[in-house]
């Protein structure tokens, strides 16, 4: 990509060792000599051994085991093979479809909203015209440091209808008390707001990192050609950000489709299932109804959906050259 080392103060300040690669032309990606590969053939196996072991024990085995469970019904002593019964049941379960619809709705609204905001914030943070950039950058990233439990206790009080901070702030602008979490429509809005609060800064910092990696020469050349700010954004910024845009879109899609934390701590999936998500319903089936077979079937139906959507996104965004 770039012929010169990426500009920007953050890169240079990275580490003492960072001076080393700059001394070598970074463009060439020559493969090491074949001979060396052969004599050192056991090295990569040693290097990935911890990862392989950990993967086998804590990822592959649980995945395989729960996949098997999805073909069984009953627990404990009287668990037995049931073929595709759980998957057939799922197709006829209105709550599964409600959960899927909710998840899809949140996905369609929340991911574009959040990523759009994140891009705007990143552009602002990258502008040399803005003062105190380090402070703003720190502030917008801070929400992504909070965990499930802390965010839960915080927002269940902030979104409280009668004594919450948000309604108080709104009341200053003459807005009547909103029944966040209490009415089907507002509960969805509330959940989307909290997720957006939680993860926008994280995505903005990712974009910021991407923006800082775009060589300034590209912009200078475009200015010489007389391109305006909009043209520069569409012709340089967006294409240069494509890999990182793809990464954030895929990660946010996976995250939203598996959305559990916010409904779990804020609404319990209610009211009247307005914020029931697939993973929330999965959790209820496993841990409240003790129906692990059905819960596992829900998990793999969702996994299938996530995979399909992920592949589609990579196809759509990845191959445009």
């Amino acid at each position: 990509m770039a012929l010169a080392p990426p500009p920007g103060p953050t890169r240079a300040a990275g580490a003492a060792g960072a001076a080393a690669p700059a001394a070598v032309p970074p463009a060439g990606r020559r493969r090491p000599a074949r001979r060396r590969q052969l004599t050192r053939h056991s090295v990569p196996y040693l290097l990935i051994m911890p990862a392989v072991l950990g993967f086998a024990v804590f990822k592959a085995y649980p995945v395989a085991d729960s996949l098997l469970i999805s073909f069984t019904t009953g627990n404990d002593a009287d668990s037995h093979f049931a073929g595709l019964a759980n998957y057939r049941r799922l197709l006829a379960d209105p709550l599964f479809w409600t959960a899927l619809r909710n998840t899809g709705l949140i996905l369609a609204v929340q991911v574009p909203l959040m990523l759009g905001l994140a891009l705007l914030v990143a552009l602002g943070l990258n502008s040399t015209k803005v003062r105190l950039r380090a402070l703003w950058r720190l502030g917008v990233f801070v929400p992504s440091l909070t965990g499930l439990v802390a965010a839960g206790v915080m927002f269940s009080v902030i979104l409280n209808r009668d004594a919450g901070l948000l309604n108080w702030v709104l009341s200053l602008f003459g807005v009547d008390r909103v029944n966040w979490l209490g009415s089907p429509v507002w509960a969805r809005v509330g959940v989307v707001l909290v997720i957006t609060w939680h993860y926008t800064g994280y995505n903005a910092v990712m974009y910021l990192a991407g923006l800082q990696g775009i060589p300034t020469e590209l912009y200078e050349a475009a200015m010489v050609d007389g391109a305006g700010p909009v043209r520069r954004f569409t012709a340089i910024t967006l294409p240069q950000l494509r890999p990182i845009l793809l990464l954030t879109v895929v990660l946010s899609t996976i995250g939203t489709l598996q959305l559990f934390d916010e409904p779990y701590v804020l609404t319990g999936g209610g009211p009247d299932n307005a914020t029931l998500t697939v993973t929330m319903y999965l959790y209820d089936n496993g841990f409240k109804y003790f129906d692990f077979g059905y819960a596992s079937a829900l998990a793999y139906a969702l996994a299938l959906l996530v995979s399909v959507l992920g592949i589609v996104q990579v196809r759509l965004m990845g191959e445009r050259r």
Partner: protein
């Protein structure tokens, strides 16, 4: 054109307020008396009950012990997961070996399976190993992070081979190449990964809740959850626990933030 700088600054300051405001309120609420947490209008200035709430937390959950547990779990997990990721990322980026692509695809494909469904198989396994209610039970499952390995692979791929070859010609073994070249050169992305892992370890909730049995072993999120009884919850204490949970990760981010951003740049933007 001239007004754009101040306008942008103002907009960013607004975003800053929206992001940080809830934390300010949390810090304020944590210093109130329990019965004032739900007052209208909400308290906007610190109250005088911080020490009382702290003492209450120390009594009810053993705050110092719980903080120590959380620190050990998150710290060890960070060192372990970063090591595993650097080693594997190095292998994926700089070596050709049989099964490389297959394993890489398998690794990433587990991202699509919701974690919730893996809880029971992992719990059964931990029981078999006799590890339930130990630090290990919480730490071990977090050591292999597909995202971490992916991040390291992306970053190491952009490292020039000549650099590594030069060291090897000088007779350095692979461990020395790792220690003296790969790690120093990629320090920013390693810092970014360390922050991610620490964050995950510090905040993780559902698995530690299930894996830890005795209150002396609880981590902060688990202890916070146990504060929530039926109708007797002391919200000032719960909110204080939430505020305390945010402090160490913020401090770590402050320390690492320069490296963090350039690390993301090195890791996530390369194809």
């Amino acid at each position: 054109m001239k007004a754009r700088g101040p306008l942008l600054t103002l907009l960013l300051a607004g975003a800053f307020g929206l992001c940080v405001g809830p934390f300010y309120w949390l810090a304020v609420a944590a210093t109130q008396d329990d019965k004032d947490v739900f007052s209208w209008p909400p308290a906007l200035l610190p109250g005088g009950h911080l020490m009382e709430n702290l003492r209450g937390l120390q009594e009810s959950v053993g705050l110092t012990r719980v903080l120590l547990n959380t620190l050990v779990v998150a710290g060890v997990q960070t060192v372990g997961a970063v090591t595993v990721s650097v080693l594997a990322g190095y292998a994926f980026a700089k070596f050709e070996f049989r099964g490389r692509n297959l394993f890489f695809v398998l690794l990433l494909s587990t991202l699509v399976v919701p974690d919730t469904v893996m809880l029971i198989p992992i719990f059964k396994m931990m029981m078999t190993f006799g590890l339930i209610d130990s630090y290990q039970s919480v730490i071990l499952p977090g050591l292999v992070t597909p995202f971490g390995i992916f991040l390291m692979r992306q970053s190491l791929r952009s490292m020039p081979d000549e650099l590594l070859d030069a060291a090897r010609v000088d007779g350095a073994g692979e461990l020395r190449v790792l220690r003296q070249i790969v790690i120093p050169v990629n320090r920013p992305v390693i810092a970014a990964l360390a922050l991610f892992v620490f964050l995950g370890g510090w905040n993780q909730f559902v698995w530690p809740l299930i894996a830890l049995r005795s209150p002396e072993m609880y981590t902060l999120p688990v202890a916070t959850a146990t504060l929530q009884g039926l109708s007797t919850t002391n919200y000032a204490q719960v909110l204080l626990a939430g505020a305390i949970a945010a402090v160490p990760v913020m401090a770590l981010f402050l320390v690492l933030q320069r490296q963090f951003i350039s690390g993301l740049l090195a890791g996530a933007t390369k194809e």
